[in-house]
């Protein structure tokens, strides 16, 4: 199945790249989304079956694949709105969508890859394909951001590769090593722990670039800033999910070895420092997109902590990532409208959004509730579980610090969002065109999902997540 998917989507991608006709483009995109959806459904139906040698429809991959497919719909929808309002020429639109399709395919493959090398390849591919999208606006800032993102990610991915090689050092056999996750799991048990530690360290640091964890979170922030809002939505949701999947796979690879507690320590520190850093920058940040990016970093940190705490933490981490994708995507889609309304991303130069654009204002209000993890937001439940896991694994100091800095983040987010919504002090020029309320439906849909999953998540999802975490200690 996957091979057809790859071929068809490749063809569609090429088609989009060279086609200049609007309707044809839409048809192609619809076609692609059909393929994407059908492959997703296929993947769910053929759970735990291999495909194309190096791919496997395992639970983890399928979950995030579903999220990706869902968000692809909305992202393509909002990309259309975005491009329409930018009045881009047909050529750049074609490039944009071609790159988008390539990105989606690359991410899908990265989720499903059951071979560490291949996963590596596709992750690098996502970097390259998203570069074109980040640079879409062709401004000097976009250029800088893209340069940084591509460069840092390439270096990071190289570090990961070094980690993989170190792994093979540790195994000590000079014959061919099977680098598929399944095979590695057995082989790792007879590697001495210092090699394992070294390898894990390199691999994790490499993947941090994608997931946006300290120490390699820096480039992702800039990418968020410069990219078109729909793409920022992708970067901070599905692309970060790619990083998470990679880290999760690595973690579960090493989980049964002797170094697990050490691993947890490293991840805990990564997570905690990420939260602290995001809190520190949230305090001073003026740019709405950067603010949302930092909040993503904060959530990634929380997820890492959840992963490191084990127990229900594994479950919570995956759940958290999913829900975070929903809320963050809707925020970034809304930011697009926001930008159209004010012509700026600078929080200080805006205000009274609640009255200027009621529908959008409500999205921000609900999204604020979602992000700061207050009920009915589902993140409330996942965070509760993560805290519980921390307590259960008796990381009390981490728990207290995390709670403290999370409160700081909440304070800042609330402050800024409320400023945007209600501040009356600025006398602003009214927006030139009213944004249609219909553009916010997708966002409301995502938020509704967020709230609903917080109360009563579908059984299938629960089963998938449990399936994904079942062979972790």
């Amino acid at each position: 199945m996957l091979v057809y998917y790859l071929i068809i989507s490749f063809l569609i991608g090429v088609g989009t790249a060279f086609n200049r006709n609007q309707t044809v483009r839409i048809v192609l995109l619809a076609l692609f989304m059909m393929v994407q959806t059908s492959v997703t459904i296929f993947a769910y139906l053929h759970l735990n079956t291999d495909d194309l040698v190096y791919f496997k429809y395992d639970a983890l991959g399928v979950i995030f694949m579903c999220v990706l497919t869902l968000l692809s719909f909305t992202t393509i929808f909002h990309s259309h709105i975005y491009l329409r309002h930018r009045r881009d020429d047909s050529r750049s639109q074609s490039l944009y969508f071609a790159a988008l399709i390539m990105l989606i395919v690359a991410m899908t493959c990265a989720y499903l890859a059951s071979h560490i090398g291949l996963m590596w390849v596709f992750i690098e591919l996502t970097t390259l394909s998203v570069a074109a999208l980040i640079y879409h606006e062709r401004t000097s800032l976009a250029l800088e951001a893209t340069w940084k993102y591509v460069f840092v990610c390439s270096i990071g991915i190289t570090i990961t590769f070094i980690g993989i090689i170190l792994l093979s050092f540790g195994m000590g056999v000079t014959v061919q090593i099977d680098f598929s996750f399944k095979a590695l799991q057995e082989q790792l048990l007879l590697v001495n722990s210092s090699w394992l530690k070294l390898a894990f360290l390199f691999i994790i640091v490499g993947f941090c670039t994608k997931m946006g964890l300290f120490p390699m979170h820096t480039a992702a922030i800039d990418a968020h800033t410069a990219a078109p809002p729909p793409i920022s939505a992708f970067i901070s949701t599905t692309l970060m999910n790619v990083g998470f999947v990679a880290i999760f796979r690595t973690y579960s690879l090493f989980a049964n070895t002797a170094i697990q507690s050490w691993m947890n320590q490293v991840l805990l520190w990564c997570g905690l420092i990420s939260i602290i850093v995001s809190a520190a920058y949230l305090l001073t940040v003026k740019h709405l997109k950067r603010m949302s990016a930092y909040s993503s970093i904060e959530h990634m940190g929380l997820t890492a902590i959840g992963l490191a705490s084990g127990g229900i933490g594994y479950f919570a981490a995956i759940f958290h990532m999913i829900l975070h994708s929903f809320v963050k995507a809707s925020v970034f889609y809304q930011i697009d409208q926001f930008h159209r309304n004010f012509g700026t991303y600078m929080i200080g130069e805006t205000g009274n959004y609640f009255n200027r654009n009621r529908a959008g204002g409500m999205v921000f209000l609900l999204a604020l509730v979602g992000i700061i993890a207050m009920p009915p937001s589902g993140l409330f439940v996942t965070e509760f579980w993560i805290f519980k896991a921390m307590f259960a694994s008796s990381h009390f100091v981490f728990l207290i610090l995390a709670l403290l800095f999370l409160s700081v983040c909440i304070y800042i987010l609330a402050k800024n969002f409320l400023y945007i919504l209600f501040n009356q002090t600025k006398n602003l020029i009214p927006a030139e065109e009213k944004t249609a309320a219909s553009e916010t439906w997708s966002q409301y849909f995502l938020l509704a999902l967020l709230f609903y999953f917080g109360i009563n998540p579908p059984v299938q999802m629960i089963q998938l997540i449990e399936e994904a975490v079942k062979n972790l200690p």
């Binding site: 940084k148 360290l201 640091v205 670039t209 820096t218 602290i276 509760f384 307590f391 609330a414």
Partner: protein
């Protein structure tokens, strides 16, 4: 159809209804919804209070698991209290909001969150599943946050709103930690697990557990030093909201503390002392700061802190009673606390409604610019006077009854046990007396300056009495205030069940009867007092019936050109007092000196600021901010550094783990030696 499902259904449908309704309709729809919910819950609650607790299990799906819903006498009492205040609140609010229609576009959202707020409060009182409890609690905080920021056009409103949101979030975090602790150890979300757990560990641990919960709930209840959100949140909220918040919402904290006291079995004597001391500080500090406030609502907010202190004293006394196994102490304490909870919710909401009416009449809350309002709005004045006397704990109103019960307990306890108990109790008596006296000072000031004398400033619009439908809820409250004040024996009997939840272990039938008789005689004297007033009035009328009564200007002690500027102001009224407690206050003064013989007009301002806020909130935040500023070198914008971070991180981790290994190795070596 089970109760909870019914209420949830009603709420959902009405929230949607309000959300999509006309602004002018929202209030009434909300009223209907509140009526239905309050009606159903009150029915169950009343049964619970009279001894038929309610129990049901709500299926919470894969996340919450089974949600036990228990309405025992305690929950029942609180639900009844809460329902009444919320009801008056919405009755008042739907009139109050008429002034804002088609101005802010916030009204449907406002009333929707009012309904949600009400329901989540009902839920908090009866849901006994940790996660669901937290969920509801956050819903409550969130909805009340929306309620607070209604007048978002003022920047200070938003500021106060955020402050409120964060502090209630801290509160929820502490409670969360406590609940997580229990659920991790027992891995069950049911509240009964708490008592099981606390039974299984030694008293110190369970006291610590109680401490965690207490601190959490203390923030909500507004115990000093966790009170700092109150004086900001109450003034900026619409009056019916501040009435409900101050009347009911902060009682959630009290409820939490009482619930935990029930669930966590511990060394009650220590707990009692702890709570008592805490409450004394809160009570005194609250009223001490209340007096110097000249923003009416802020003044009332500080009084909430004071009354929370009084309630806390009751709880502490009760706990001590449990500790030394003395039923009458326990009964008096808990009964006093519960009754005062009700009383405070009555007169405080009444005061806030009054404040709201005044605000809408003259568009300011600054006491200094009021005066002589009693002639313009007599009914409001009477309502305010009743509430003011009630909050000072003066007979024949309800405030006295609860304070009397607590006094009873104190004096009962003095000659009972040890030296320490006697000393603590006499000091608490002094504290309670001082609180009473200070409250008297404060409310003579408030009432006197606001309503009496001549108007201190002129308003460009006509000041007139509020319409009847806005005064009606006030009169409703007054009715209850009087009933409690004049027939306390009835209410004490209503309290028997809730209190016996605590004192059940000690046999207290006899003492209850004793207290009932006691209150009977109190009410008798009170009646006599009223009678006496009537008689004297009659005599006076009879005596002066055919003498002429002259009206003339106020005697200015020889100075004839008196004007309203020469009246005593609020500031001057409390000046002597302010000089006494100077060290406790932080007054930000802005004074100009007078130059020349004929000096140009000068302005001097004095803004009281909360010293505890400086110590417990401002300084730590500053410290945290500086701390975080240290981290802000990372995003330097230079790609070379970005690459470096990863490498450095790897190095650091490697070095650390090497060091770690070395240390472990050395320790092993040393062990061998």
């Amino acid at each position: 159809m089970s109760l909870s499902l019914f209420i949830l259904f009603v709420t959902l449908s009405f929230v949607l209804l309000v959300g999509f309704s006309k602004e002018s309709w929202a209030g009434n729809i909300a009223l209907v919804s509140v009526l239905i919910n309050a009606g159903t819950s009150s029915w169950v609650a009343f049964n619970a209070v009279t001894g038929h607790p309610y129990f049901e299990i709500l299926g919470g799906g894969s996340i919450f698991g089974d949600i036990p819903i228990r309405i025992d006498a305690l929950s029942g009492w609180f639900i009844l209290m809460m329902n009444f205040t919320v009801l008056t609140g919405i009755l008042y609010g739907r009139r109050y909001m008429k002034h804002y229609e088609n101005k802010s576009g916030m009204i449907p959202l406002h009333f929707a969150s009012f309904i949600i707020n009400h329901v989540s409060m009902i839920g908090i009182f009866c849901v006994q599943n940790s996660l669901a409890f937290l969920y509801l609690w956050e819903m409550m905080a969130l909805s009340s946050f929306i309620l607070v920021i209604f007048e978002y056009k003022k920047p200070e409103t938003i500021k106060a709103g955020i402050n409120f949101l964060i502090q209630s979030h801290i509160c929820i975090l502490l409670v969360t930690v406590g609940l997580i602790w229990v659920s991790v150890r027992t891995n069950s979300f049911d509240f009964n697990a708490i008592s099981v757990f606390s039974a299984s560990v030694n008293p110190e641990v369970s006291f610590f557990l109680f401490l965690v919960f207490f601190l959490g709930f203390a923030i909500k209840a507004g115990f000093v030093p966790f009170h700092t959100w109150l004086p900001y949140a109450h003034p900026v909220a619409p009056s019916h909201v501040s009435g409900v918040m101050s009347g009911v919402m902060i009682k959630l904290g009290i409820f939490g503390i009482l619930r935990m006291l029930l669930l966590i079995n511990q060394n009650y004597l220590t707990t009692g002392y702890f709570i008592l001391v805490f409450s004394i500080i809160s009570g005194l500090y609250g009223v001490i700061l209340a007096i110097v406030q000249h923003d009416l609502k802020k003044l009332l907010a500080y009084h909430s802190i004071e009354n929370i202190g009084i309630i806390g004293m009751g709880i502490g006394l009760g706990a001590i009673g449990l500790g030394i196994k003395n039923p009458i102490l326990a009964f008096a304490g808990f009964a006093g606390a519960l009754l005062h909870t009700l009383n405070h919710s009555l007169f405080k909401s009444l005061l806030f409604y009054g404040a709201g009416t005044i605000y809408q009449a003259i568009h300011t809350l600054n006491i200094e610019s009021m005066g002589g309002l009693i002639k313009k709005m007599p009914q409001t004045a009477i309502l305010f006077l009743v509430a003011a006397m009630a909050i000072c704990g003066l007979p024949p109103f309800n405030g006295f009854i609860s304070e009397f019960l607590i006094y009873r307990g104190f004096f009962e306890g003095i000659h009972l046990d040890s030296l320490s108990l006697a000393t603590v109790l006499i000091l608490s008596v002094v504290a309670l007396v001082l609180i009473g006296g200070l409250a008297l000072l404060c409310f003579t000031k408030a009432f006197g300056i606001i309503f009496l004398g001549a108007a201190r400033s002129t308003f460009d619009h006509e000041v007139h009495e509020a319409e009847a439908s806005k005064l009606f809820p006030g009169w409703l409250v007054v009715l209850f205030i009087l009933i409690i004040g004049l027939f306390p024996q009835i209410f004490i009997q209503l309290l028997i069940k809730p209190v016996s939840l605590f004192t059940g272990s000690l046999s207290n039938g006899f003492q209850v009867m004793l207290l009932v008789e006691n209150l009977q005689s109190v009410s008798m004297v009170t009646w006599t007092f009223i009678l006496a007033i009537a008689v004297i009035a009659a005599i006076k009328k009879f005596v002066v019936r055919n003498r002429k009564t002259v009206t003339s200007p106020t005697w200015g002690c020889g100075y004839v050109a008196t004007n309203s500027k020469m009246q005593y102001t609020a500031g001057s009224y409390v000046r002597g007092y302010r000089k006494l407690i100077r060290p406790l206050l932080q007054l930000n003064k802005k004074e100009e000196n007078i130059e020349g013989i004929f000096s140009n007009p000068i302005v001097s301002e004095t803004h009281p600021y909360d010293k505890i806020e400086v110590i417990f909130i401002d300084r730590p935040l500053k410290f945290l901010n500086n701390l975080l500023a240290r981290v802000r070198f990372l995003q330097s914008g230079n790609v070379r550094h970005y690459v470096l971070y990863g490498v450095i991180f790897i190095f650091i981790v490697v070095i650390f783990s090497l060091l770690n290994d070395a240390v472990t190795y050395l320790t092993k070596l040393i062990k061998q030696i």
